[in-house]
Subunit: 421 residues, 2 copies
Amino acid sequence: MLNQYRMQAEIITIGDELLIGQVVDSNSAFIARELNKIGVAVYQITSVQDDSDHILNALTEANTRSRIIIMTGGLGPTKDDVTKNVLCDFLEDTLIQDEEVLKHIEYLFQHYISTPISDLNRQQAMVPSRAEVLHNQFGTAPGLWMERNGSTFISLPGVPFEMKALLTDTVLPKIVAHYDRPHIVHKTLMTYGWGESAIANAIVDWEENLPREIKFAYLPSLGRVRLRLSAKGSDKAYLQNLVNGEAKKLYPLIGEIIYGEEENESIEAGIGKLLTQKGMTLASAESFTGGRIAEQLTAIPGASKYFKGAVVSYATETKIQMLGVASELIEKHSVVSEAVAVAMARNVRQIIGTDFAVATTGNAGPTKGDSDAEVGTAYIAISSPERTFAQKFVLGNHRERIVQKGVNKAFELLQKEIVNF
Amino acid sequence: MLNQYRMQAEIITIGDELLIGQVVDSNSAFIARELNKIGVAVYQITSVQDDSDHILNALTEANTRSRIIIMTGGLGPTKDDVTKNVLCDFLEDTLIQDEEVLKHIEYLFQHYISTPISDLNRQQAMVPSRAEVLHNQFGTAPGLWMERNGSTFISLPGVPFEMKALLTDTVLPKIVAHYDRPHIVHKTLMTYGWGESAIANAIVDWEENLPREIKFAYLPSLGRVRLRLSAKGSDKAYLQNLVNGEAKKLYPLIGEIIYGEEENESIEAGIGKLLTQKGMTLASAESFTGGRIAEQLTAIPGASKYFKGAVVSYATETKIQMLGVASELIEKHSVVSEAVAVAMARNVRQIIGTDFAVATTGNAGPTKGDSDAEVGTAYIAISSPERTFAQKFVLGNHRERIVQKGVNKAFELLQKEIVNF
């Protein structure tokens, strides 16, 4: 088997709901990201059914490849949850009642859960006798840590926020204390505007001359491409220098399309930082984006310092009533037009009283709606203390993508305007 | 090996970005859902690295268990994409240039891509000589269909919208034509308000007496539990009857908490249907939900018929200026209060001129912000032609969850009010 007993982990996510596609597995990405930060590489992610044989099989295979195995799911109080029994089979153990866990379950029911406690709930206090129990402050299913022959088997609940708290507060510190690990250094450059192969062309010489220790990847989505450099080894400072040095060389080649270096930093988070630094404020007036600009801005903690509010003027009459867009203007130019976008941005900036404003009007489909504009046609306007302007975009014919592309373009225009102010 | 050569599929998703957690694998859930609809069960989902040996290994293992193997990713123009070479290794084939694909790539570059075509792009026209090429209308990487000994190996691009179009338009019809399949019937009841074990307690007798053909699962998330009945067999009408009959028996037991039967139907989609039927309209005034109510409503095609708009009054002064909430009222009761929620709902309903309105004010944290309210405290108000009222909620201490729970509660209150109107 490949990479046997390198310092790596595997993730096994358990649940029929994953295999019939009712739930997207977001737990794995979170676990993988956190493990990488402490220098543990994830070799494979496997999603299996609520079926004892299947889980046992996945566990056996993973154990031939990796020393840390993290399982999520299959710990609920209902009959379809079988993970604990499989762990007992695999590690030749039996379930016993844990008094601490039982007390915690009873406490949660007394204080936070409106329905009465049942025997099913109390059964969640049954754990393998040799397991170390990991306290789940947010839920009734405890985490479990079991060891055999230098390998560790960790079982966590599948509910994302319970899993995340257990992993961050308990599991990661235990892994750090338990294992020597290589260092993994990542750096991600966030770019917009060019496609994957245009970038590849511009940096072909750089890519061919990368040091052996560095792995390089393109991660495209919706007009953005993230460029990721990774290096693994024993000397963290050396790796960091190596990665930083190579990343720096990209700026003379493609600096114009790089908007940030923080892993997964969004443009809107960058806008928030800029506005906070400058002590300036922002509002939005949204038609086809339906409030998503506001929603993405307010998802950032502390947004209330710079984001004052929005008008979602989904109907044409709302543009007239709430934003004071003249009905003659709409009749003359149509509701999806440069003139209307400009009026929306200028007016919302004045009405809410902010330094900057962004406005969107467009047609996300599936039908033409209130306007004559083709599906995918959109105008995005920016208003600053100095000027107001709009730009036209053609965003394809897929409703969900039209909205998200429009939001992305709005943030790109805003970022440029604010950074240059 | 388990279930050898039953009519089942496996999904292999390829990409380092999955294993370091930079990207959540949403492709698998989509593929699994679509395969289930045509009676193909997904046995396992495996995510592997951009590494030839690793992909080859996953492919070999999957092929011992399942007859259909769908791979996504690793088809881009850059050096880290190796799927096609692995397929050639595994099926003993070589790459040749496909003229049709080359023409399509050149066409896409001429018409839709602003950067010039390069040799890297042209290399995407190289395909295994025995592969059937699946036309990718939205992108430059073609899909591939290869067969050996009754098994089918399908390679699709990792970009979600390209993958989805290829799967739906080409791959699924080919599988339907190619294989005899059992029928899989699912029914999902959407519930809110009770936890998993409270429901389990109420239906324990029903669950124990379920016919052998039916599998039952609880899928909890944020105060909602979806209950899923599944049955598999050769007689579709029989299975449908069986599942419908058992689902019906749940209504006398837990009917009060069931809000819908459509798989993954959201409450807001139900609200949209109700408003359309009644010919009535809706607006929102949002503080701590930051526009997410508007955003979720406008994500539904046709929402412009009943959703007129929203005011996102994130700052206190915006509540005064845009919504006409009296500053004395805010001083007296605080901005997070029943009185302010009621004023917001009543006023936005009047200002935008709709039949119904929903308003939110609360503290999503991490700090107390403009109000004295504890993090997690929220008031949600509903205004109808007959009355306006607000309800208080305590939504925990996790910012992202506070917002989503608030949005969910707002939709629950709205749904009850509209359905009873």
